[in-house]
C-alpha cells in the first residue's frame, strides 16, 4: 500500500461568526493515497467542516488544504462527495443520474451510457436503471449517488455520514459494498461518521476529533486488521486487538460527552 500523502492539511482553522465559534483549530495532517480514513468524533467537533474544506465547498479561515501539492481552490470532480441526505436527482432516472456526472466531464453519449450501466451494475442497481429515485428505497438512492460519484473516477471519495439515514441492516450492507468497491478498484476514501463500529470496520486509519475547538485528539492506525480489509463485518469481532481499540474509542467518546456536561 502506497503511503504517499495525497491530501495535506496545513494548520487548517475555521471560525464561524467572526471568530465567535472555533469549528476547527490548527489541523495539520497527511492523508495517504488508497487509504480509507475515518473522521470520528462527537457532534460539533468539526469533522464535517474539515471534509467540506477538502471538498472545496467551504474555505478555511487559516491554513490550507493541498491535494498532491496543489492548494484546493474550490470543488472539482477529482473529489467526489457523498452526502447523508439523498442527492440522487429526482428528475433523472437512476442511469441518467449516473450519466449526469459523466456528461459534466464531457464524455460522449455512447460511452456515457455504457459506463453508467457498468457502475449501476457494480452497485447492483442495473435492474432499476430506468426507475426514478422516487420509486427506490433509501439504500438504493444512496447506491445511485455512490455509482454517480464513482463513475467519475475521482481520486478522492469524500463521504459525509453516507449511511447515517439508513436503517441498521441496510447500513451494514452498504458498508460491505463500500469495502468491496474499494477492493475492486483502489481509492482514497475519507469518511465522516459518528458510528464507531462503522469506522472500525471500514477504516485503515481513524482520526478522532475533539470539540470546542475542533481538533484531532487521536490518530489511530488500525494495525489489528493486519493491513487487510474485511469482507464480512463479523470477522472484525474475532480479531485480537479489536476489543481494545473499540473500548479505547468508546472511552474517548465518553470523555467528550463528560467535557460538555462539565462545561454546561
Amino acid at each position: 500500500m502506497s503511503v504517499k500523502p495525497l491530501i495535506r492539511a496545513t494548520a487548517v482553522g475555521k471560525d464561524y461568526n467572526e471568530g465567535a465559534v472555533r469549528a476547527l483549530s490548527n489541523i495539520s495532517v497527511d492523508l495517504h493515497e488508497n487509504q480509507i480514513t475515518a473522521l470520528v468524533g462527537p457532534s460539533g467537533c468539526g469533522k464535517t467542516t474539515l471534509l467540506r474544506i477538502i471538498a472545496g465547498l467551504d474555505f478555511p479561515t487559516r491554513g490550507a488544504i493541498a491535494i498532491d501539492g496543489k492548494t484546493v481552490q474550490g470543488p472539482g470532480p477529482d473529489r467526489g462527495l457523498i452526502f447523508q441526505a439523498y442527492t440522487s436527482f429526482p428528475w433523472l432516472t437512476a442511469v441518467r443520474n449516473v450519466e449526469y456526472g459523466l456528461k459534466i466531464l464531457g464524455i460522449d453519449k455512447e460511452e456515457r451510457r455504457q459506463r453508467a450501466l457498468d457502475f449501476l451494475k457494480l452497485v447492483r442497481l442495473d435492474h432499476v436503471a430506468d426507475h426514478y429515485p422516487r420509486s427506490l428505497s433509501g439504500g438504493m438512492k444512496q447506491r445511485v449517488a455512490l455509482a454517480r460519484t464513482l463513475a467519475q473516477r475521482p481520486r478522492i471519495v469524500l463521504m459525509d455520514e453516507p449511511f447515517g439515514a439508513l436503517d441498521a441492516q441496510v447500513r451494514w450492507e452498504m458498508q460491505e459494498l463500500l469495502v468491496e468497491l474499494v477492493e475492486a478498484e483502489p481509492r482514497t476514501v475519507v469518511i465522516v461518521t459518528h458510528d464507531i463500529g462503522e469506522a472500525l470496520y471500514l477504516a485503515d486509519r481513524i482520526l478522532f476529533f475533539s470539540r470546542q475547538p475542533g481538533r484531532i485528539k487521536a490518530d489511530l492506525t488500525l494495525d489489528f486488521k493486519g493491513g487487510r480489509r474485511l469482507k464480512e463485518k463479523e470477522e472484525l469481532f474475532s480479531l485480537p486487538g479489536y476489543r481494545e481499540m473499540e473500548k479505547h474509542l468508546f472511552s474517548m467518546m465518553r470523555e467528550e460527552i463528560a467535557a460538555v456536561d462539565n462545561a454546561a
Partner: protein, 297 residues
C-alpha cells in the same frame, strides 16, 4: 346473531391461526375495529366517498342559494335569481349575445399577459433564488411593489394608454408579475443545497447548476406557483374589463349591471369560475405530462 355464530364455526374449520394455537378457537378474542367517526382525525376518505362529499358540498351550496331565492320577497327576487335562471341566462348569452366572443377575448387577454408575466418572473425568480447578491439587489424594490394594489394603477394606465387592450394587459401583468417573482424566488431557494453542492463537486459550473439542477428541482413548485397566480390573474382581468372595455366577460357584466340583469351578472361570475377550474385542470395536466417524475399519483 346467526351470522356471528356461522363465522365462528367457519373459523374453527378453517386454517389454524396463531391465536387459535395459543388459546383455542373458542376463547380467541375477536377484534372488532372501532367504527369510523365522520370527523376521524386525518382519515383520508376513499375516492368514491371523497367525490360524494364534494358533490354534497356543492349541493348544499346550491340548496342555500335556491332557499335564498325563494325566501326573498317576490318583488326583490330578480336580484337573487335561482340557479336555473342563471344557467338559462348563460345559455341565452351564448345564443343571442355573442358571449363566446367575450369569453374568447378574456381568455386571450389572460393568456397573453400571464405568459408575459411568467416569461419575466420565472427566470428572474430563479436567478434571484440562485444568486443571493441578485436577490439583495432586486428583492427589496420588487417586494415593495406587491404592497401597491394593482387596481390602483388603473387610472394611471388609462391616462397612459387610454381604454386600450394595452392598459388591460398591463394591469394584469402588474397584478401578477411581482407576486410570481416572490413565489418563484422561494421555490428556487427551497432546492436542497445538497443537490447544488453534489453537482458542484461533480465539476458542474455555476450556470450548469442553475440550469440543470435548480430549474428542474424547482420546476414542480414553480408550476404550482404559476397555477395559483393565474387564479389571481382572473381577478385583475375582470377589474380591467369592468373599467374600460367593450368586450370580454367583465364588459358583459358591466353592461348587464346597467339593465339590472342580475342573472347575467351571475352568469358571468359562473363563467369565470368554470374557466378558472378549467385552467387549473389544464395546468395540472401539463405538469403531469412535462414532469412525470414529480407527480406521484
Amino acid at each position: 346473531m346467526a351470522d356471528d355464530s356461522a363465522g365462528v364455526v367457519a373459523h374453527q374449520g378453517g386454517a389454524e391461526t396463531f391465536a387459535q394455537q395459543q388459546t383455542g378457537a373458542a376463547d380467541a378474542p375477536v377484534f372488532r375495529p372501532p367504527g369510523r367517526k365522520f370527523l376521524e382525525l386525518r382519515h383520508e376518505p376513499s375516492r368514491i366517498n371523497g367525490a360524494l362529499l364534494g358533490l354534497i358540498g356543492a349541493a348544499l351550496f346550491i340548496g342555500l342559494w335556491e332557499a335564498g331565492h325563494y325566501l326573498t320577497p317576490e318583488e326583490g327576487r330578480q336580484f337573487l335569481p335561482s340557479v336555473g335562471e342563471v344557467i338559462y341566462a348563460l345559455i341565452d348569452l351564448f345564443r343571442e349575445q355573442n358571449f363566446l366572443d367575450d369569453v374568447i377575448a378574456s381568455c386571450i387577454r389572460i393568456s397573453v399577459s400571464f405568459f408575459a408575466a411568467a416569461a419575466i418572473a420565472v427566470p428572474l425568480g430563479v436567478l434571484m433564488g440562485s444568486f443571493k447578491n441578485l436577490r439583495a439587489l432586486l428583492n427589496p424594490t420588487l417586494s415593495a411593489w406587491k404592497y401597491l394594489p394593482a387596481a390602483s394603477f388603473m387610472p394611471l394606465l388609462l391616462v397612459w394608454f387610454g381604454p386600450t387592450d394595452t392598459a388591460k394587459l398591463a394591469l394584469l401583468f402588474i397584478g401578477v408579475v411581482f407576486f410570481l417573482v416572490a413565489l418563484v424566488l422561494d421555490n428556487a431557494e427551497a432546492v436542497p443545497s445538497e443537490f447544488t453542492e453534489a453537482a458542484l463537486t461533480m465539476g458542474a459550473s455555476r450556470w450548469e447548476v442553475v440550469l440543470n439542477v435548480i430549474v428542474p428541482a424547482a420546476a414542480p413548485a414553480i408550476f404550482d406557483s404559476m397555477r395559483n397566480m393565474i387564479a389571481v390573474g382572473w381577478t385583475y382581468l375582470v377589474i380591467a374589463e369592468i373599467v374600460g372595455a367593450r368586450d370580454g366577460i367583465g364588459a358583459m357584466m358591466m353592461r348587464a349591471g346597467r339593465t339590472l340583469s342580475v342573472d347575467q351578472i351571475m352568469a358571468g361570475i359562473l363563467t369565470i369560475g368554470i374557466l378558472g377550474v378549467l385552467t387549473d385542470i389544464l395546468f395540472r395536466m401539463a405538469a403531469r405530462l412535462l414532469l412525470p417524475w414529480a407527480t406521484s399519483r
